[in-house]
Symmetry: C2
Subunit: 364 residues, 2 copies
């Protein structure tokens, strides 16, 4: 029995089919590299709602708390659009983030050389791009109370609360500074301190943490709207960006789209260390459930495979194995083997989801 | 005495020098087109703080309420960064927006043909781009209460409130639908209804207003993060975008940067009709105060000149004169006359702020 436990939650849409390929990659590491995993599987999102009337059962939640890492495919789809807010597929994912206290969402935006032409941006603007967005994931307006739609003076009022404590800001700032030290040693913090007091506190605390423990890292601050502009204008100016939950949602998606290949981008959501020293962790591709192509073998499994690579690096202290996997994916791309999302290019070889998995395993 | 009154607030940084050129354009319309304006001038932002210890005096506020339109240059600068939140230059602008109840911020993102190569995006992605972002400007997290930085259980907590009433959403939705009818007849509404209840209400009310009075306009909905992605990927898919104050802040700046020429983009902020039928209105360029180049005659006055063109169209019912001015600016660009921000291109003729103003007036 392996001491490395994984809970796989394929979810909705293309989640299950891309996760099938990840399962094969996981098995490969067990067979060939002596890195065995105890893998279990369960439901999340619409799939869980269909089976149990809730997007995440208490039993699944408890299981997620016990394992070393959760691997999630994607949640959501038009089938669930009319559901009440409280049982929407997204609530399953948000509950996992909140109850596992996964406060640091790592969203690399990397432009693969072989794919730079897929970007809507000019090649010179994005080729070689490699930035890391660290998004706070367990607080802010996503979880602040009070919230809801209320009746007030004869009309409806929609309410949400953006709330950050000093401790919440400090811990995600630390995560960003730590990452920066292992990269380009620069952090840019983004908020709207010119308009929001939560942003004023954000800037203050990031500055304090920096002065106290990370003065060796270069720190700058930018308003989030200017950040959106600068990401669009010249993204290579950034190394690590740290920002709150809502700004992080928009800015990390924007950064992802700069690379032109959403089907390639993984993410990690990390919390505090558990008793065994491993952090609470959930890994998931940046792309969504893509219901329009689900079940047709067209989905690109690379983002989900690369999410497993992040798990190797951040949960299982197997950075070299992670790099091995990442390089295998890069070699497959360089050979022109492509799923439909990356296909409209000369000399490319079309591949199904399964064939893409085959190619990665062959490269390994 | 003209019955068209304008209050000019040059503000900080490059505000005064670009506004000088606008003043000359305004005078030209009086002299040559019989469109006289009663122009007064006053302080806002850091300039007002320096003179009066507040970024907007009550007297200036009262004056702004009386005139037909306010023209604002820009506010802010590093000199004022350390000021308390309550007297920062931005508060002057925010007070104008709030007390004049300028709920509809019109932010066109247009790519001038002569400038398409300045974009970081590929020419084919942005050439001919013409979208209109309608941002709610007087509510949401910018103004919601409670707000502040508090001490709680021995640590600081930063708090802001996102709050929208049905009426606030409905009126900006109407503004967007009305504009769409005079353009491509399509509106895309953006929020985070999958995460925020204020977004749930936003989507509901926009849908209701559409069904009741604008069923002839094509309406779609998008989550704001997906919106940021789609704006980056293929912005020409949009005609009018309507969104809240904070999402609008980021998304309109992102859209502006797609065009590659921030120095060209105007904006209008409109409120309810006054007794004379004209809407409360404030016009300002999208660019900021650019303190690094202030006072050097390098600033591009076009965005501010085009803001006056929007005033002609939306405040003074002079759409043809607005078009005349817009076309004059386009012809100047086509001739290659450029301020420094748009200069690194072969065959361009460098121009100072003043020379750019001269060129526009000559073209008129
Ligand atoms: C699915 C949704 C709830 C989620 C979010 O808003 O956080 C997604 O957009 C993301 O970025 O992971
Ligand atoms: C200057 C600032 C307060 C303002 C805002 O956040 O609204 C600006 O970014 C804008 O978009 O007009």
């Amino acid at each position: 029995m392996s001491d490395r436990s994984l809970l796989i939650l394929p979810g909705d849409g293309i989640g299950p089919e891309v996760m099938d390929e990840v399962q094969r990659v996981i098995a490969w590491f067990g067979d060939k590299r002596g890195l065995g995993f105890a893998v279990s599987e369960d439901l999340v999102g619409g799939a869980a709602y269909d089976a149990h009337g809730t997007p995440l059962t208490d039993a699944t939640m408890a299981r997620a708390q016990e394992v070393d890492a959760v691997l999630l495919g994607a949640v959501g789809g038009p089938k669930y659009d009319a559901l009440d807010f409280s049982v929407k597929p997204e609530r399953g994912l948000l509950r996992l983030r909140k109850e596992m206290d996964l406060f640091a969402n790592l969203r690399p935006a990397q432009c693969f050389d072989a794919l730079a032409d897929f970007s809507s941006l000019k090649r010179e603007v994005v080729a070689g791009l490699d930035i890391m967005i660290v998004r706070e994931l367990t607080s802010g307006v996503y979880f602040g109370e009070p919230r809801g739609v209320f009746e007030e003076g004869g009309q409806r009022v929609g309410l949400n609360t953006q709330r950050y404590t000093e401790a919440e800001i400090a811990r995600v700032a630390r995560a960003a500074f730590e990452l920066a030290r292992r990269r380009g040693n620069r952090v840019c913090s983004m908020e709207k301190a010119n308009v929001m007091e939560s942003g004023v506190l954000w800037r203050e605390v990031v500055t304090e943490v920096h002065a106290a423990d990370y003065a060796d890292v270069e720190l700058s601050h930018m308003y989030a709207d200017a950040g959106a502009m600068q990401l669009t204008r010249w993204p290579k100016q950034f190394d690590v960006i740290v920002t709150d939950n809502l700004f992080g949602d928009l800015l990390s998606d924007l950064a992802a789209m700069l690379t032109g290949s959403l089907g390639m981008l993984p993410s990690a959501s990390l919390g505090a260390p558990m008793a065994n020293g491993r952090p609470k962790a959930l890994y998931e591709p940046v792309h969504g459930s893509a219901p329009d192509i689900a079940g047709q073998g067209k989905a690109n499994p690379c983002a989900c495979i690369l999410s497993f690579a992040m798990a190797l690096r951040y949960s299982f202290d197997a950075g070299e194995e992670a790099t091995r996997l990442e390089q295998a994916v890069e070699r497959v791309l360089a050979k022109g083997i492509r799923t439909g999302d990356l296909l409209n290019v000369e000399g490319a070889t079309p591949a199904t989801t399964r064939e893409m998995g085959d190619a990665v395993i062959a490269e390994l």
